[in-house]
């Protein structure tokens, strides 16, 4: 059996583990565009912030690839797939044939066309180790940094560099920060906190044009900067599948076994869609755990053990300067605000299920208990919701359920 | 007459030597062999007591009870004889012949009576003859001062005294008596007033016991057996063992073999492993007669009309050997004490703890001797 994986990503790593559980002998080839073996992209901001180092970052030790007999081809991009011949061609013209192919190409920064952007020489995206290293090299205590995009990437970047630079301005078209995970009030809390830390926000606004060191806003205001970080958004890397007619929907469409619409080709991670049970829709869940799980599902299905991904949800934990945010699911249905001065907390329930939550600050403790309610679609009438709503706790479950959860004597 | 207290007023732990000699064919022989055997074990005695029991020695009076009595003085004798007269028909009475010798001193008056219960008195007592006689014996021994009936069986007799057993034998001229069964006891009291009545064998009716050992269950056994009309006046192991044997054999009509299974009962662990029938029986006996279990070291030879039984405590904490030669069976504390009278034995056995060795007269012999 010949397995080929395109994209040295987390999904790739977990796929390799899953494949090797079933198939000890088949050949595994891992092709990666970057020069680094799989690592977790969200770590790059922590590296800049000093919570970890680029050395510690690789997701698996070199030994892992040796032990699992994986052929690593790094720094080379796959340029084409021949679905008939079942081959993959690299930019160096090398051709690899596969029996099972996994696309784990992730996503890339999306930079919209902006007037005069080409005049800016010190501009960076913030996604890969390389981009982070490049940025790190340029910033000085005098640098005035302008970040376009108040999303996860942009703000994590801010956290990473704030104490290394003179100032940070953040511009976003959206009226609030972290629009993808926070509601208005939540966003306000975080924004206030970040402003206290010294970050300046320009929201509901966007850059009309650039000169070398100045950005002019639609609102008319001007922001002078030394370094520009572009963190507007990301796009899934779907070209390879697109080229051979695979179905797309902002990402590569996959079923619950991570199969694409093309035989023997699987997709996992940020480049692929999965079925979000909280809103019953196919969507790209560009999140670390999701990539990890999809990789595993794909890997086992590729190597002959049928596995289904039937509890996909969006679930995210992120923090800025020690202020922690946990969010999950969809913000639909009935909204329950249980916030306190020290902690923000809203729960979303929809026909007897918890479908979404936003927790900020000290309300996040044991929040996995909530996440589990969402992921496992636990019927709220089967437990004491009033109690569990106050704080996540197992006490709220029926004794029998709890006993089996905590492991009853066989 | 005695400055130290009488036997029975204090309890006396003792060591001892015992021998038993028996002819299965009922051949009657003198006491010399018994004397010879016991004298070899002189260092097991200390001169403070010795005695013999002989069976088949009074063939001419075998239908009468032969009472052997010690009297401290004439008044005691007078009182006792008056008493006997009122309950028994005395057909013969005489001094028991003895030999004057320096080794034996302080002899009391020693008399022998052949008698049978007065029919009228027996009838009004509503008791069987044996019970009637045994009660009278116990009554006299416990109530009449200065009297001691130390032998009360039919066609048998006990001879005992303070002294070394071989001397006691000669003192009583045992060479003149002929019996088919002899037991002898040499005593080693560790502290004693050494009273004649306290010497062994101890007997009631025809059941006599010689014993070597010191039992730890004494008071449990005594307090139990005394519920049934016995009175342990001597406070000796031998006495209480004799009473228990009498009770179980005569009153509960248990054969000697089963009597032994009560006195030296098998361990529960052994009983639990037995087949149901035996297990049920032994469980029943151990439970119902639990207070008759004898613990602590003992080896006894029980004499009775027509047989002998040798028995060890269940741990066999005392030596006891049985040898056979032709129709003769020898039992003794020491093998040497058997070899000295029967050098060539057909067989020799060492009875296991708690397992009785019983020998009885063969059929023809029973006709002539009993």
């Amino acid at each position: 059996m010949k397995y080929v994986i395109i994209g040295a990503s987390i999904a790739a790593a977990s796929a390799i583990e899953a494949i090797r559980k079933n198939d000890k002998t088949g050949s595994i080839t891992l092709i990666g565009k970057e020069n680094d073996p799989p690592y977790c992209r969200p770590l790059i901001s922590y590296a800049l912030w000093g919570k970890t180092t680029f050395e510690k970052m690789p997701y698996r030790s070199p030994l892992f690839y040796k032990e699992n007999k994986v052929k690593l081809i790094l720094g080379k991009a796959a340029t084409a797939i021949d679905k008939k011949k079942k081959t993959v061609t690299l930019d160096d013209k090398r051709v690899f044939s596969y029996d099972k192919l996994l696309i784990a190409t992730g996503s890339r920064p999306f930079v919209p066309p902006m007037d005069g952007l080409e005049k800016v020489d010190k501009k960076f995206t913030f996604m890969t180790i390389d981009s982070a290293k490049a940025l790190e090299k340029e910033i000085t205590p005098q640098s005035r940094v302008l970040v376009i995009g108040a999303g996860l990437i942009g703000l994590k970047c801010c956290e990473g560099i704030l104490d290394k630079v003179a100032s940070i301005d953040v511009v976003d078209m959206a009226p609030r920060i972290l629009p993808s995970i926070l509601d208005e009030n939540g966003a306000k809390r975080v924004q206030d906190f970040l402003e206290d830390k010294g970050i300046t926000f320009h929201l509901g606004d966007s850059t009309a044009s650039f000169t070398k060191k100045t950005a002019t806003l639609k609102s008319g205001g001007k922001i002078s900067f030394d370094i520009l970080v572009l963190a507007v958004g990301v796009r899934a890397n779907t070209d390879l599948i697109d080229a051979i007619g695979g179905e797309l929907n902002r990402g590569i469409v996959t079923n619950d076994q991570c199969q694409t619409t093309i035989p023997d080709i699987y997709a996992a991670g940020d480049c692929a869609t999965s079925h979000d049970i909280t809103c019953d829709t196919e969507r790209v869940l560009a999140l670390f755990p999701n990539a990890n799980i999809m990789g595993e599902i794909a890997g086992s299905n590729m190597s002959g053990t049928e596995k289904h991904y039937d509890d996909a949800i969006a679930a995210n934990a992120i923090g800025f300067f020690g202020l922690h945010i946990v969010t999950a699911g969809s913000y639909i249905g009935e909204k329950l605000d249980l916030s306190t001065p020290t902690g923000y907390k809203v729960l979303f329930t929809h026909d007897d299920h918890l479908v979404g939550m936003i927790l900020i600050g000290d309300t996040i403790a044991r929040s996995g208990i909530y996440t589990n309610l969402i992921r496992k679609r636990v019927s709220l009438s089967s437990l004491n919701f009033a109690l569990i709503a106050q704080s996540p706790q197992l006490m709220a479950f029926k004794s029998t359920d709890r006993v089996s959860m905590l492991g009853e004597r066989q | 007459m005695y400055d130290s207290p009488l036997e029975g007023e204090v309890r006396i732990p003792a060591g001892c030597a015992i021998t038993g000699i028996f002819s299965k064919t009922g051949r009657r022989f003198s006491g010399e062999q018994a004397i010879k055997s016991i004298s070899l074990m002189r260092d097991r005695s200390n001169g403070l007591g010795g005695g013999f029991a002989a069976y088949g020695i009074y063939p001419e009076y075998k239908d009468y009870y032969a009472f052997h009595l010690f009297y401290t003085d004439k008044t005691a004798k007078k009182a006792c004889e008056d008493y006997l007269e009122t309950y028994f028909d005395i057909i013969n009475l005489s001094k028991i012949p003895t030999r004057k010798m320096p080794e034996i001193t302080n002899a009391p008056l020693i008399w022998r009576y052949f008698l049978s219960p007065l029919k009228t008195k027996l009838a009004e007592s509503q008791l069987d003859e044996a019970e009637y006689v045994s009660r009278q014996v116990i009554k006299i021994n416990s109530n009449l001062p200065g009297c001691c009936i130390f032998s009360s069986g039919k066609n048998m007799g006990v001879f005992k005294a303070v002294g070394f057993p071989e001397d006691v034998g000669r003192f009583y001229r045992l060479e003149d008596y002929k019996g088919y069964s002899w037991t002898v006891h040499g005593r080693y009291p560790t502290n004693t007033p050494g009273w004649w009545g306290g010497a062994h064998p101890f007997s009631l009716l025809d059941c006599s016991v010689v014993h070597n050992g010191e039992i730890s269950s004494y008071d449990a056994n005594r307090r139990f057996i005394e519920m049934f009309g016995y009175k342990c006046t001597l406070q000796t192991d031998t006495e209480v063992i004799a009473y228990m044997i009498d009770y179980l054999h005569r009153k509960q009509s248990l054969p000697y073999k089963k009597v032994a299974r009560i006195l030296a009962a098998p361990f529960w662990s052994t009983i639990d492993r037995m087949d149901k029938k035996e297990r049920d029986e032994l469980t029943y006996l151990r439970n119902n007669f639990s207070s008759m279990l004898v613990t602590g070291p003992f080896s006894i030879i029980v004499g009775f009309n027509g047989g002998l039984m040798a028995l060890n405590d269940r741990l066999k904490l005392r030596s006891l050997i049985v040898g056979q030669k032709d129709d003769m069976v020898y039992m003794s504390s020491e093998e040497a004490a058997i070899r000295v009278i029967a050098p060539q034995l057909d067989s020799i056995t060492y009875p296991k703890g708690g397992e009785p060795y019983i020998v009885t007269l063969n059929r023809e012999a029973q006709q002539q001797c009993l």
Binding site: Y46, Y59, P289, N292, G319, S367, G368, R409 | -
Partner: protein
């Protein structure tokens, strides 16, 4: 694999397990030295009206915390889920993921969890010191 289980009928909510956990996972050699410290035990008692029980890591066979760990600090080694605190970046994704709420940050904001006292070389301290055998360490 032997795991820690709680018998809720016998848990008295005395909270001694928490103190012994805190002590055993600290460099301290005597309970008295916990005086004036706010303890951060890896086992936590939930107290109800007439039901109490202590919760610590279940050491799931298919642990979602490990799958969610972005730094690779959480690993599963023959059933035992361990954390390499030097790798942890404190992103709290494991807190978001654990269905039992069995992970929590230590004083430095680095994650900690029950590792069955494997580092202390004895039976789990909470089990040893439960006064009512409400916490068991056994195969199930």
């Amino acid at each position: 694999m032997k795991r820690v289980y709680v018998e809720e009928n016998w848990c008295l909510a005395c909270h001694l397990c928490e103190y012994w956990c805190a002590l055993s996972n600290s460099p301290l050699d005597n309970m008295v030295k916990l005086k004036n410290k706010d303890i951060r035990p890896r086992i936590q008692v939930e107290e109800g009206k007439d039901i109490n029980f202590a919760v610590s890591c279940r050491h799931c066979t298919d642990p979602i915390c490990v799958k969610s760990c972005i730094s690779g600090a959480l690993t599963i080694n023959n059933g035992l889920i361990q954390i390499d605190q030097s790798k942890c970046v404190g992103c709290y994704t494991c807190i978001m993921a654990c269905p039992y709420g069995a992970l929590m940050p230590n004083e430095e904001g680095v994650m900690q969890k029950c590792e069955l006292c494997t580092s202390n070389g004895t039976e789990p301290s909470c089990v040893q010191h439960c006064p009512n055998n409400a916490i068991k360490y056994e195969e199930r």
